[in-house]
Amino acid sequence: MYDRLLEHVGDDADQKQLSVYLSQGGYEGLRRAVEVGPDAVIEEISTGLVRGRGGAAYPTGRKWGQLARIEGDPKYIVCNADEGEPGTFKDQVLLEKNPYAVIEGMTIAGRVFGSPKGIIYVRGEYPEEFGILRSCLQQAREAGLLGHDILGIEGFDYDIDTVAGGGAYVCGENSAMLNSIEGKPGRPRIKPPHLAEVGLYGRPTLVNNVESYAAVTLVVANGGEYYRSQGSANGGGTKLISICGHVAHPGVFEVPFGRYTLRELIWSPEFGGGVIGGDFGFVHCGGHSGPIGFENILDAPYDYDDAWSGGKAIGSGAIVVMNDTVDIVDYLRQVMVFFRKESCGKCTPCRLGTTRVWEVLDRLASGRGEPDDIQRLRTTTEQVHKLSACGLGQCIDVPILSALDGAGPAFEAALVKEPTRV
């Protein structure tokens, strides 16, 4: 049985063919899940130290354990394939190169929770991956791996459908995604109640990221102890990372937690291959809501327990490298262009706050900064962070404050810059 998400996948192998996946040992995880039973599967996931791969890093075993203790029928299984963090394209590659690992992981969840139905929510910008999944699901159905009496086991009935998004970053937030699946605008819900209790159509629901389900397949097939041994003391197994920006070899790579430093990931010929177009400027890790690091953090290990970000640098697996031709203030302005457009508008602190923060950054970046703008930037950012209802607004402090702390002089310099436009 393979023990990596992508490493065993040959360039020529057509991973969209179920026969290819089966020849690699596919569906051994599901067979083992049936054999050992629900409690043992959840125990293996906890032992394997799997943490949510979408960005929040919540322990997957704990999430599954919580749903197992909740009464309610039916329970739904949902896969978050709304990969929208800028600079992140690892789920896209995983869905192209190992789609059945995701489907198998969701089927294991179906078995564990006795669920009738799983749904994969694929972002609207990924029509190819949507098509791949539909074809793979059909092949699994025809092979008796979805539908009625899966694996010939009487009463093991479970199917998976795909639902397409319509272009809204906020739908990556799990409760917003469930609203979107229900055919409503994708605005987040106020929590509690948590989705494990009141989820899709008000039923108990499990929501995990694409890569998390694939990790579950590996854990169950290879055992939790083995999976954990592949990673670090803070996180088991491997992580898919997307390195892009000013590097020689942008792309998706699979790395064990804790084994490499950011410096190695950016410069090693095996990974990013070094900075191009100038010297190293800074690196934005984990997605737009992740921290920005400068030269002094490059020797931190790529792990959940790094000293500089408290693991926030892992996030979605994005590593966006910028060379020294890019001004950090200009960069942050562009980050806020994104957040203010994607704010869903439901809560005032985020709807107005993201625009106020963008305005300050726009002034600073174009040489129109006002004397107290740096303080205003910090205060407004902290307010949006504290008062917003969901992760979108709550996380904008991470890139902004890490940049302010790491590159204070650049912001001071922006204050006395000549105006570039009126």
């Binding site: 272009g167 994708g186 737009h288």
Partner: protein, 169 residues
């Protein structure tokens, strides 16, 4: 220029099992067959009735999701990624290139309804930045010169199409 017919909308609804879960696919398919790539009032009303929703609820959906349009959106679309990996690897210059070539601002439609140019968030092709999506097809590592050429060809192609249409009429 006609909107999708009732039969076309019915066929799309059947394709997605008249399921509200697939409302975004239904609306996107309707936009796809609409010559100006938007959800017309009549189509929105038809879908709303079929799915047991109010027209207001339908418009709440159409206006919430970026990929759906409630007004004519141009016969062709040029979407420039504005997320940081693209923007700082030449994407910034592509915005001004497109705007200058067409004489419109971002997110506007040309007067003749031929083209809409918009900035869009990351669509996950960051390894080949800067990316531009034209009528749904992604073009990688696009330079201003290449974008000018692509736009010129779109405009010329649209002009030829329109002449053909008017000859038939």
């Amino acid at each position: 220029m006609t909107d999708p017919t009732r039969d076309e909308v019915d066929e799309i609804l059947a394709r997605w099992d008249h399921s509200r879960e697939h409302i975004l696919s239904i609306l996107q398919d309707i936009q796809h067959v609409s010559p100006e790539h938007y959800v017309s009032r009549s189509a929105a009303a038809q879908v709303a009735e079929d799915l047991g929703m109010t027209v207001t609820a339908m418009y709440e959906i159409v206006t919430f999701y970026h990929m759906l349009h409630a007004t004519p959106h141009g016969r062709h679309s040029v979407e420039i990624c504005e997320s940081t990996p693209c923007y700082f690897q030449g994407g910034d210059a592509l915005q001004s290139t497109a705007a200058e070539r067409l004489g419109i601002a971002m997110d506007e439609v040309t007067e003749d309804g031929a083209l809409c140019v918009e900035t869009v968030p990351c669509f996950g092709r960051c390894a080949t930045a800067p990316n531009v999506r034209i009528d749904g097809a992604v073009h990688h590592r696009v330079s201003p010169a290449v974008l000018r050429d692509l736009i010129d060809r779109l405009v010329a192609g649209d002009r030829a199409d329109q002449e053909q249409v008017s000859q038939h009429v």
